[in-house]
């Protein structure tokens, strides 16, 4: 494990009496690709702005490489930011944009020219030196914004929804570009997004946030397969979240039917939330399943069929390569290790309110 580079301690921040971050604690390791993921207003951008020095937290401290930088202005910090809408200097050429930080540091002309060449090569935009930002496409401008940041050799690159303004295809290409860049540069990336797919594709670590609280920290696999609460389960991918009762260790009662599972330690006859991913629901003939239901919707999605099955009063979302026409009676089963048990939210703040992404 790499050493801890940034440590956010007890960060709180409110705007006009509205709490945005509440006692946030988070550390970031060297050379990590960490993503802050959450719906708008969850505090992810504020966290990034506190890291960049554009906001000062009301309480708490930011420790960078062992030093407290909470009150340090942005121009004195060893990190650079890539902004949401590129924020290029429209009155300067691409070369001048990239050279901006280096000129301020009084680097020699040859050093600056080498760096511009190197950065443009890195983002695959060689020969763009004398173009103006306005003449570039969105994706190209975004790459220039990244080039402008990385020529300063920051220890950390902060990226604030940098792909938000790009179209789907370009966004996917840029995701691979960013992973490649991070590996070539060997620095820490802190990435902010509301797009769960982006987060799953690129990150080493995902921090899921909602309403100023961290909901879960973990690897993409962990976040997807073992969400700790209903918010995380709902926010990351499609899921069936069903209020259930934990009968005993390794046995849960879902909608009146007992299902074996693998989780233990939740106690006996305790109300819990159960997450079952749509692709983990097994449909078969009525006799083979643990429950029976009726297919009510059927949509062809390319890789799989998306079906809605009404069983025991719940609409199950099912992804399957096998097709069952609307009106068919089907049996429903789930493998024990695909049933993810979660505690009910302890406070209202943790509850998934109005999130359907």
């Amino acid at each position: 494990m790499n050493k801890i580079l940034i440590d956010l301690k007890n960060i709180s921040k409110s705007f006009d009496g509205q709490m945005v971050l509440d006692d946030l604690n988070l550390y970031i390791r060297e050379n990590e690709f960490l993503t802050l993921l959450g719906p708008s207003g969850c505090g992810k951008t504020t966290t990034l702005r506190i890291l960049g020095g554009f906001e000062t937290p009301d309480t708490g401290s930011v420790i960078f490489d062992g030093k407290d930088i909470t009150k340090l202005p942005p121009n004195k910090r060893q990190l650079n930011t890539v902004f949401q809408k590129y924020a290029l200097f429209t009155h300067m050429t691409i070369a001048e944009n990239i050279a901006f930080g280096l000129k301020i540091k009084n680097k020699s002309k040859t050093y600056i020219n080498d760096k511009i060449k190197y950065a443009l090569k890195l983002v695959n935009l060689e020969g763009f030196e004398n173009r103006m930002p306005d003449s570039l496409s969105g994706g190209q401008q975004q790459r220039i914004a990244i080039a402008r940041a990385i020529v300063n050799e920051p220890k950390v690159l902060l990226l604030d929804e940098p792909l938000g303004a790009l179209d789907l295809k370009l966004r996917q290409d840029m995701q691979y570009e960013l992973i490649r860049l991070k590996n070539e540069l060997g620095i820490t990336f802190i990435y902010v997004t509301h797009d769960q797919e982006e987060a799953l594709t690129m990150s080493d670590t995902i921090v899921v946030m909602n309403q100023g609280y961290i909901q879960q920290i973990g690897t993409p696999e962990k976040i997807y397969n073992e969400p700790e609460n209903a918010f995380v389960a709902d926010f990351i991918g499609d899921s069936n979240i069903i209020s259930s009762t934990m009968i005993e260790d390794k046995l849960v009662e879902i909608l009146g039917t007992k299902f074996p599972c693998v989780d233990t330690g939740f106690g006996c006859n305790k109300p819990v939330d159960v997450v079952i991913r749509p692709e983990d629901v097994i449909l078969s003939s009525p006799a083979k399943g643990k429950m029976t239901g009726t297919v009510t919707h059927l949509i062809f999605k390319g890789v799989h069929y998306e079906m809605e099955v009404t069983a025991a009063g719940y609409e199950w979302l099912v992804h399957s390569t096998g097709m069952f026409p609307v009106g068919t009676e089907v049996g429903i089963d789930v493998d024990p290790f695909n049933i993810q048990i979660m505690n009910k939210p302890a406070s209202e703040d943790e509850e998934a309110v109005g999130v359907n992404e």
Binding site: G52, G53, F54, N75, K85, H91, G101, I104
Partner: protein, 271 residues
């Protein structure tokens, strides 16, 4: 004639009567003498000592006024820009309010304020301070110009300032620039179109004014605007008045060309 052109007819008639025909008349009078024969004398008349002096004085005073307006307006626009929406519409209102009052009235008010026995001097003598004697001097004219034309400088600069994405400023700071460097390398160049518009909108009316100089400068200080006015109203020499107007127009055209080169986004078009 198609429908769109038909809708434009009132405008064409308007501009023909009030812009094109008067302009043609100015050129006709400017290039003819009293007998109607072609002459360049009215144009060359600008080089006569008293006319040249009035032109130089007008150029000098309006340049100084423009510079003062710029120095006052830029910080003011920046302050306006930094305020939140509620405060800011209130301040803009306060600022625009005097502009709704008649220009002549406001200038006359300054005359009353600055007079030897005016309000300001009464207050000064009450406080046993030396009296102010700036009425009928070039200083009073500069004061009048700055007072009347300052809003025309503030608004275009303000417009170009609010257009700057705050993240562009943040990006510059992020890349290591301190406050002064951000201003010199980012804010100032990005507001240049606004500054040029402001300069145009202050300089041209200041250069051609005759009311401010008449009311605050007494009859002693003649600007080129006063000379033109007198040729028309007192001397009755429309030919000379038109000739001098054409010369003045040259300065305006030069200024407009410079400003159109810089102001591609039309910051000045708000007024």
């Amino acid at each position: 004639m198609n429908k769109k052109k038909l809708l434009g007819t009132p405008y064409f008639i308007w501009s023909a009567i009030f812009i094109i025909i008067p302009l043609c008349m100015v050129f006709y009078y400017g290039f003819t003498d009293k007998s109607g024969a072609f002459t360049l004398e009215n144009i060359i008349a600008i080089s006569s000592p008293e006319h040249a002096k009035a032109l130089y004085l007008a150029l000098g005073l309006s340049l100084i006024s423009t510079l003062i307006c710029l120095l006052l307006a830029y910080p003011l626009a920046m302050i306006l820009c930094g305020l939140n929406v509620n405060q800011h519409s209130f301040i803009v209102l306060i600022f625009i309010l005097p502009m709704w009052m008649n220009f002549l009235l406001r200038t006359l008010a300054w005359q009353t304020l600055l007079e030897k026995t005016g309000v300001i001097n009464n207050i000064l003598s009450f406080l046993h301070l030396p009296a102010l004697t700036i009425i009928n001097t070039p200083y009073a004219i500069i004061l009048g110009m700055v007072y009347n034309f300052l809003p025309f400088m503030v608004l275009p600069i303000y417009n170009s300032l609010v257009k700057i994405d705050p993240n562009v400023i943040n990006a510059a700071r992020d890349l290591g620039a301190n406050g002064l460097q951000v201003f010199a390398k980012i804010t100032l160049p990005l507001t240049l179109p606004g500054i040029i518009s402001g300069i145009t909108m202050v300089f041209i009316p200041a250069l051609t004014t005759f009311v401010i100089s008449k009311l605050l400068g007494g009859s002693k200080i003649l600007l080129i605007g006063n000379v033109v006015e007198e040729e028309f109203t007192q001397a009755g020499n429309w030919h000379l008045g038109s000739g001098l107007s054409i010369v003045l127009m040259l300065f305006i055209i030069v200024n407009m060309v410079i400003s159109s080169i810089f102001d591609k986004d039309g910051e000045g078009s708000v007024l």
